[in-house]
């Protein structure tokens, strides 16, 4: 066994081990903790990039990793395919920049910040890599447990109130998750996703209703996380109450739900799914469209920038869910592109929102009150703890303003940036330049809603930008630290870079979508995967 064989399990084990290590370190050794967690995310970016390249080269699956070396349908298996690799990479990038941003001040606003972020990373990577339904539940709980701590990070009545709602809703959703998994196990007798996909077509007709009920209940649990209307009323409040780096990390949290929906609906309910094929697709399409409408109205109605970002999350979720509802490979390819772009953009937007809100004079006193007790015996000392306002970077307003403009362009989908490429890819696939098929009324509706929602986002962003940069800035001296603006710039630079390499990215996404829509390659690869030592048990 070389290290390369363990590539699939590294994204889970590494952050977990480092999280345990940071827990042992004294709370005051922040520099060391910061260095450890940033080092972890850099290594994870490298691991995810390797998986991405391997998955791109090897067809369906880059690596399977039977945990505990149990034979495949019985034990838990980790599966790293293209989609998992993409998600792990996006998570690692977002974490890296959120950590750098937090190092300026937020990491000091409460205890165990780095540990919680690393545990969240463990849960996220585990959820993206696992090939087992119940293991997915366990990793969901791991990431939720860390996120409960992170939502409350920085304390304050608003955060506690939002956190209370967040915890209650997710606990209820977890119960639904368990009911769904139990029903599916009761009918099919398996928890392995690949085995499940192979067994679903053969389920007896009298059990079909029970199976579909199980899938539907499981789907509701995912949709609570993904933020489909009307299960998403908690999102704007929680996301805008959370501290900026946490909210940026949470940009990927809704995508976990989206990932699960894409993964399971395409694996188990695809064209080969027997009588269950296409189950719930109409629901996803309609629900997604309603979510976009809800999000667009919310975006237009928001004045505070973090709240605007919170509604932007629901617009992004709605778009992805509706695209899942259309369910053709070409649309899925565009949706995956959009997923990457919108996650990174929203992450950057949450970070940026804090910077501009601070200039407007919100937030400041809340943070000052909570950061104070932790500042007293900072052994690091240095300029960090004394310079509350930070350096005045020349032309800060110009930098923030252009970052805001790029954010708006990426998210609203204006050419020539990657947001436009992703949306165009989805829309052209829906209208179907080459496909001879008749475009249905729901698809036309979705096209219209997508275009109008982009316009709504544009209006809201431009209005907010004008009120921040053209009105209030006249007599406000903007103070931003380099470590705070650098992550925002870097995230947006990735968004711009994705437009430069748009062709390559789009081609990779098309391969990913093709593999997702023809899951038999993956199912065979997983079920036929060898265990170490060559021992196999015939079922």
């Amino acid at each position: 066994m070389t290290l390369a064989d363990h590539l699939a399990v590294l994204p889970i084990l590494l952050p977990l081990a480092v999280a345990a290590l940071t827990l042992l370190l004294d709370e005051r050794r922040r520099r060391l903790k910061l260095a450890l967690s940033i080092g972890t995310s850099v290594v994870l970016i490298a691991v995810a990039a390797t998986l991405l390249v391997k998955a791109g080269a090897s067809g369906a699956v880059a690596a399977t990793y039977p945990l505990g070396n149990w034979p495949i349908p019985f034990g838990i298996v980790l599966v790293a395919d293209r989609l998992s690799a993409i998600m792990v990479l996006v998570t690692a990038i977002l974490t890296l920049f959120a950590l750098i941003f937090a190092s300026a001040r937020w990491a000091r606003a409460g205890v165990s910040f780095h540990t919680l972020v690393l545990v969240l990373l463990t849960g996220l990577n585990g959820a993206f890599l696992t090939g087992d339904l119940f293991n997915l539940f366990v990793f969901f709980e791991v990431l939720l447990a860390a996120s409960y701590g992170l939502v409350l990070h920085g304390s304050g009545a608003t955060r506690i109130r939002a956190g209370l709602h967040y915890v209650a809703i997710n606990l209820a959703a977890s119960s639904l998750f368990l009911i769904g998994v139990a029903l599916i196990y009761g009918v099919t007798g398996t928890l392995s996703m690949a085995d499940l996909a192979a067994r679903i077509p053969a389920v007896a007709a009298e059990d079909r209703g029970l199976l579909n009920a199980g899938i539907a209940i499981l789907g509701v649990a995912f949709l609570v996380k993904a933020g489909m209307w009307p299960l998403n009323l908690w999102i704007p409040g929680t996301y805008s109450a959370a501290s900026a780096p946490v909210a940026a990390m949470f940009a990927i949290m809704t995508k976990v739900g989206i990932y699960a929906v894409y993964r399971l609906s395409l694996l188990a309910l695809g064209p080969d799914g027997g009588a269950s094929a296409g189950f719930g697709q109409t629901f996803l399409l309609v629900g997604g469209m309603l979510t976009i409408v809800f999000g667009s109205v919310g975006v237009l109605a928001s004045h505070a920038t973090p709240r605007l970002a919170g509604f932007a999350v629901t617009v992004s979720s709605g778009t992805l869910l509706a695209a899942a509802g259309v369910g053709t490979p070409a649309v899925t390819a565009g949706a995956l592109f959009y997923l990457v772009v919108s996650t990174l953009t929203i992450g950057a937007f949450f970070l940026l929102a804090e910077l501009v809100e601070r200039a407007r004079g919100g937030e400041e006193d809340v943070l000052a009150a909570t950061a104070e007790p932790f500042d007293e015996d900072d052994e690091d000392g240095g300029p960090d703890s004394s310079a509350e306002g930070g350096l005045v970077i020349p032309a800060t307003t110009a930098i923030l303003g252009s970052a805001f403009a790029i954010c708006a362009m990426l998210f609203a989908g204006l050419p020539p940036l990657s947001g436009f490429l992703a949306k165009f890819s989805m829309l052209s696939a829906m209208i179907g330049t080459e496909a001879p098929s008749v475009i249905t009324a729901p698809t036309w509706t979705l096209v219209g809603i997508l275009v109008v929602s982009s316009f709504a986002v544009l209006i809201a962003m431009v209005r907010t930008g004008i009120s921040i940069f053209w009105v209030t800035m006249k007599d406000v001296q903007l103070k931003v630290r380099l470590v705070e603006i650098a992550p925002v710039t870097a995230l947006l630079a990735i968004g711009v870079g994705l437009s430069v390499f748009g062709g390559e990215v789009q081609a990779y996404m098309e391969d990913t979508a093709a593999a997702l829509h023809a899951p038999w390659g993956m199912i065979d690869a997983v079920l036929g995967a060898p265990v170490v030592g060559g021992g196999s048990v015939s079922p």
């Binding site: 119940f134 709980e141 009545a157 109130r161 209370l164 368990l178 998994v181 139990a182 196990y185 009761g186």
Partner: protein
């Protein structure tokens, strides 16, 4: 046996859902606990109900005459997780009571 278990799960779920929808945080936490009990029983029932079946499969056990161990393992995991989450929710609940001065879920009366 099936009927009693089904009624038990039903009553627990109904009480749990009703309590979750109540305005006091303490009621919500009891509701979530009841709901998780119902879910645990439900998972257990998905392994089929049977008495006097062998728990571990070996050559001495005839055919399918054994109790399905997977749901039992799942229930064990689910119990631990829901226990930990309830404890965590309790802390948030107390923090909310301290920060807002009320035990209403929205942090204010009415």
């Amino acid at each position: 046996m099936e009927l009693i278990l089904a009624i038990g799960i039903g009553v627990l779920t109904a009480s749990g859902v009703w309590l979750i929808l109540r305005p006091r945080t303490f009621q919500v936490i009891i509701g979530l606990s009841l709901l998780s009990y119902a879910v645990n029983l439900f998972i257990f029932a998905m392994g089929r109900l049977r008495s006097n079946a062998a728990p571990i499969l070996d050559s001495a056990v005839e055919g399918a005459d054994y109790a399905d161990p997977v749901p039992q393992a799942l229930v064990l995991t689910a119990i631990v997780i829901s226990f930990a989450m309830t404890a965590l929710f309790l802390v948030v609940l107390l923090a909310a009571r301290g920060a807002t001065g009320t035990d209403h879920v929205d942090g204010r009366e009415g």
